[in-house]
Each structure stands twice: as structure tokens, then as C-alpha cells.
Symmetry: C2
Subunit: 376 residues, 2 copies
């Protein structure tokens, strides 16, 4: 199948770019002396996860138990479920532990600790947990000096659970405006995690795991002393948000949505394509960056970007493509039936709209299809 034969819209994966991205992050973290525990919520595919973990000592990070199950069925056992555990999921976690999955869960609230302790008793299971630490007020976690941290660890240890350490995700790195900002955020993330782990150790817990990371902080951290692993995921594909941050270049972006021109809006010099938000996602992550990429940056069928041509609007199965500055496209360059590729704002969100990837091994040739896991 070639790019002119595939059913549109569909998701293309450029494996040469992906491999370059994977190697770059691996090399970087090796030079910093810290393991990668890749977040596989971006790829949700076992072949890609195997490439991400090759040569790495640790396991993987997931965002759902459905991902944990999928990767476990394919032989991966060391799994961190990096979303604060919902107490309602504890029986499901216990079931995975009993089947040999080395699954760690995270929490940041004494109420959760009590629910875990109660479930540990009722189900006869020793859960393995990391305490989630907040480095930047962005989402979840306890501050490194929060009194609840030691309280949580004590509740869990009394219930026969293992407090394996701490994890932190500096989501604030996505709001940085320059590389210095991301460097500082990486240090803030590292320092918070290390300080929290020290407090746990002082309270008598071994806390061997100090887990940090986001793609921006992993890319720009200058020192990761004390961290034992880095969680990055988006780096596998990169995207326009990462390019806008300075984390990657546009030509590092490894996934794109293939679409076909279905009409012309002669009155405003725009195109209609058969990729709407169902294929692109509603993500507008570049809207708050210096360069707003609309719903995606438009490339020719071989993947070469057109200067300043973006998806300016979407409906469910329609995309509207125009110039960034609102001027008219030369519609003769884009006859109905011609094909375009659209680079995503956010790789995780766009990939999630598709059941799998068509692998592009040469610029115009799709040769293999890789599935993605789904659901919860």
C-alpha cells in the first residue's frame, strides 16, 4: 500500500524519525546515568514499547490498567501505573499482582492510603506504591515537605504494603517559554523528588525509587543526581507542542494523519479534507504557544511541510485548511483527490483517535500496520 492507496484518514508512522527520537533520548539519559521508564501511553503498541525499552534496565509507565494488561500479555511485567489510584480499582490491581504483574500504583492523599490499607487487609495483598510529589502546583501530588507524606507511608507500611519511593511529573514544563525555563523546571522536579525520598528514608522507609520526568524536562535536565528513573513518552513521536517548546524540530515529528482533499472554498481560499477532529483530535495545544498551529501543520503527501499552511477548523469528519495569516491558498495546487499529511499538535491525543499506525519505511510506502490498545 502506498500513501495514495491507503483509506483516508489514517495515521502514518515514520519509523526512521521515531528511531532517531528514541536513540536521542536513550543516549541523553545514559550520559546522565539514569534509567528510562518510558511512558507508553503515547504509543500504546508493544513493538514500539520494545524499541523504547531496549537496553534499559527498568520497565514501563502506563496511564490505564488496560495498557498494563496489554503490555503484560506481551511479556512486560515491571509496570508503573502513573495516575493516582482510584480506590475502586484496587481489586483489579490486586488481581494483576496475583497474576505476576509487578505493578506499582501511586497516591497523594491519606484517604487513598486508608483505602489501600483496607483493601490490602481484605484482599490479602501487599500493594507496592510510590507517593506522588508535586513540583510545580500543576496537577497532583504532595509538596515534598507535606506532613501527610510520612503519615501516608506509615499507614501503608502498617498494612503490609511497600512504599517503594516517590514519583513526580513536572507538567509545568509545558508552560516554559525557553530552554532555560525547562532546565530550571527539570532541576525543580529532581530536587522535589530527591527531597521527598530523603524524608521517607529518614522516616525509616527504604524508598529505593525516585521517579521523575516529562519529555521537556528529560530533554533539558543537566543533572539528575538522586533520580533513579525518568519517565518520558511523547519523545517517541514528538509533536508540534514539543517543537513549539524547542524540545524537537518539526522534522522530528514521526506521526501524521493522511487525508484527502474533498473540496475547495473558493470564497476564502481554503481547502476541505476528510480529516476532522475524529482523526486529528480536538487538541489545540499550540494555541497558547508563540506559533499557533491550528489543528495541525499541513505537509505534502511525502511529509514535507508547506510554509504556514495549517488546519484552521474541524468538524467531526471535515478539516478546513488555510494559510496561517488568513490569505488565500492557490487552490490549483491542491486539486480534489490530492493527498496531504497533517502533523499533530499533541501526539498522544491524535494517536488516540486511531486504532493503529501504518508504518512508512520509505517516504511514500506504507508497509505494515501496528495496532494500539484502547480503553480502561
Amino acid at each position: 500500500m502506498t500513501n495514495t492507496q491507503l483509506t483516508t484518514p489514517c495515521l502514518l508512522l515514520d519509523t526512521a524519525r521515531m528511531t532517531r527520537n528514541i536513540v536521542r533520548m536513550r543516549t541523553r539519559l545514559q550520559s546522565l546515568g539514569v534509567a528510562l521508564r518510558p511512558h507508553v501511553k503515547t504509543c500504546k503498541n508493544i513493538d514500539i514499547a520494545r524499541q523504547l525499552t531496549a537496553g534499559q534496565p527498568g520497565g514501563i509507565t502506563v496511564s490505564t490498567l488496560a495498557e498494563a494488561d496489554y503490555f503484560f500479555e506481551h511479556g512486560m511485567t515491571d509496570i508503573l501505573y502513573a495516575v493516582g489510584i482510584a480506590p475502586g480499582k484496587l481489586p483489579a490491581v490486586a488481581d494483576r499482582l496475583s497474576r505476576g504483574m509487578a505493578l506499582r500504583i501511586i497516591l497523594d492523599h491519606p484517604q487513598t492510603a486508608k483505602a489501600i490499607a483496607r483493601a490490602a487487609g481484605e484482599l490479602g495483598v501487599g500493594f507496592r506504591v510510590l507517593v506522588e510529589i508535586d513540583a510545580d502546583g500543576e496537577r497532583a501530588g504532595l509538596r515534598a515537605d507535606a506532613p501527610e507524606m510520612v503519615e501516608i507511608a506509615a499507614i501503608l507500611e502498617r498494612a503490609g504494603c511497600r512504599v517503594d519511593g516517590v514519583m513526580v511529573h513536572a507538567g509545568g514544563s509545558y508552560h516554559c517559554v525557553d530552554i532555560d525555563g525547562m532546565r530550571r523546571m527539570a532541576e525543580q522536579e529532581r530536587a522535589s523528588a530527591v527531597a521527598a525520598a530523603k524524608r521517607l528514608r529518614r522516616a525509616g522507609h527504604e524508598a529505593p525509587v525516585v521517579s521523575v520526568g516529562s519529555t521537556p524536562t528529560a530533554t533539558f535536565a543537566e543533572d539528575l543526581t538522586g533520580a533513579t528513573e525518568v519517565r518520558a513518552g511523547v519523545h517517541v513521536f514528538q509533536d508540534l507542542v514539543q517543537a513549539g517548546l524547542g524540545v524537537c524540530e518539526i522534522d522530528d515529528i514521526a506521526i501524521s494523519v493522511l487525508s484527502e482533499v474533498i473540496g475547495h472554498r473558493t470564497e476564502d481560499g481554503k481547502l476541505l479534507v476528510d480529516a476532522g477532529w475524529m482523526a486529528l483530535s480536538r487538541d489545540r495545544g499550540t494555541a497558547e504557544q508563540a506559533l499557533d498551529q491550528g489543528y495541525g501543520l499541513v505537509c505534502n503527501v511525502s511529509g514535507k511541510p508547506f510554509e504556514d499552511v495549517i488546519v484552521t477548523g474541524t468538524n467531526q469528519e471535515h478539516g478546513i485548511i488555510g494559510k496561517r495569516d488568513g490569505s488565500s491558498l492557490n487552490l490549483d495546487e491542491f486539486p480534489v483527490g490530492s493527498r496531504l499529511r497533517i502533523l499533530p499538535n499533541h501526539a498522544c491525543a491524535t494517536a488516540a483517535q486511531h486504532d493503529g499506525y501504518w508504518i512508512i519505511d520509505s517516504p511514500d510506502q506504507a508497509q505494515r500496520w501496528l495496532p494500539r490498545c484502547r480503553g480502561w
Copy 2:
């Protein structure tokens, strides 16, 4: 399974509300003397589509060939594929026609007409088409007085294709600020379609089909003389965008996302739940309405909305819930492990994030699961 036992996040469907919505639209269109051809891109499920089409003379509307295949496999044959046809899909359309699907396609460009004519010759197929008409400059279609319309019809007829009429979708109805505006938009939609059909008939085409509709215009049209069918879809579930327009009430909204509290942000009085954009979608359709509902309006586990509690932010698997005015929630009312339901901005987008629905037949009891079709 009850609402406290289902794996979160998941999509709940209140069938009593859905039935009320379906009956209301059916009654309304019967009183206007026009058939409903429901757009099943919202529900993507055969049982719901059967309820939508019960007592209707016509078929269904779809947004992808994957939907067409799914509904055809379940016995529905009269199908309008209401996205401007991509020439690359014509062999697939021909294949469906040869298997007995009464599939109509739409177009608005002479280039498409030529591609259809060419494919008709090469594949030995008489395609059945509607010409897409633009009522409001919102998305696609030819103006009712565009010279290309008659040109397109002539190209197609010469190639042995049937020009069955016209279709128009007044997407501009979503930008109306009051009911009068939607009434006027409905009339504009109707008048454009009828005028275009008249031109086709004057040019010698039978053009029996005059297809109009959107949920807002279908809800407020006062006269549909000359229209032969109305396409509405979102009305089956309704959503916060429709409520914001005045098309429905909040308690008409039939789908919600069930989620569980996983943490508290004591510093700003917000909650964390296990439903992020993966479960809610990134749709922010109420952002430009008078009442911005964030990523969704929050209800208790039985579906009763909290006043002014919305999802203020999302990550992939995290939702942040707070008060609309930024004041603090009383976090004691929402202990970790408690469950909440979130009403969607846009039913099509939120439902698309899920593989199916849990049916709620009593307020707290999920009794049956209905699958959704996916992909292209």
C-alpha cells in the same frame, strides 16, 4: 453492575432521557410533515439507530464508510454518506453498491464530478449522488445559485450516475445566540435547498431528494415545505452545547462519563478525577457560549448536577474539577473514592472516546452494554 461497581471512566446512557429526546424530535418532524433521516455518527450503535428510525420512512445518515458498513451488516440499506466524497474512496463506494447498499454520496466540486464520472466508467457503476449546497458559508457546498451546480449534474448524468437531489447542513445554527436566530437559520437552510433543487429540476434532473438539517434547525424550523428529509443526530443524546443554545434542557442530556475522585488539591479547593481528555474529549464547544462549561458539567453519581461545578482542566487521564467562579469546593463533600458523572460539551466527541455505553435503566443501575462502531 451498579454505578459504584463499573470500571471508571466509562460512558453511561440514560435510556429514559434518550427515548424522550427521540420521541420529541419524531413528533416534531411528523407535525411538519417531513421524514427524519437520523445522523447516526452520534450514536454509532445499531440498537439506538433502530429506535431512531422506528416509524420513519427513510434511512440513515453516516459520516464514514465504516459506519455505513456496520449499519448495513445490521440490515440497514438506505444510507447517505454526508461528507463530500474523496475520490480515493470511489472504488470502496462501488463495492458497497455492488453488495446491495443503497448508498448515496455527496459532492460540491466539478473536479469531484469528473472523478466520479471517470470511476463510474472504469468500474461500470452508476453512482447515486446529492449535490451539497451551502446555506451559510460555514463549511462546504455550492451556493444555491452557483453555476457549477448544473455543470456538475450534467457531468454525472452523462456518466450514467443519478443526481438524486441536494443536501444542506446549516452548521451556522451553532453560532446563533437565540431561538429566533435558529428559526431564521432553519428557513435559510430550507430555502437554499429548495432553490437549488428547483434549479436542478429546471435543468431536467428529477432531483427527488431535498435533504436538510442540523439538530438546532430541526428543533426550531417552523416550516419545512419542499424539504423531503431532515438530518439530525445529536438530539438523540443532547449535550451542553445544545443546552447552551436553548435546544434542550440540562436534564435532557442522556450520556455522561462516570468517574472516581482520586485526589484533592487543597491549595485551590479542586478535585482530581480519573476522567481526563481521553474519556471526555478535548471538545470545548461551550467556550464561546454565554455559559462556559469547561470540559463538562459535574453531577453526583445519580446524575443530579452540582450548581456551578465543572471540569476546569484535563490531562490524558486526569480531570480537574472546580467551581466555575474559581472559589473553593468543600472537599469534604467529595472524599477520595466517591463517584461523579460528567455531562459532555459535545455528545459526538465524548462518545467517540469510548467503545460503548453502559445503559442506565434505573438511576443507579447499569444493566447492559451497547457497543459503538469505530474508524474509517
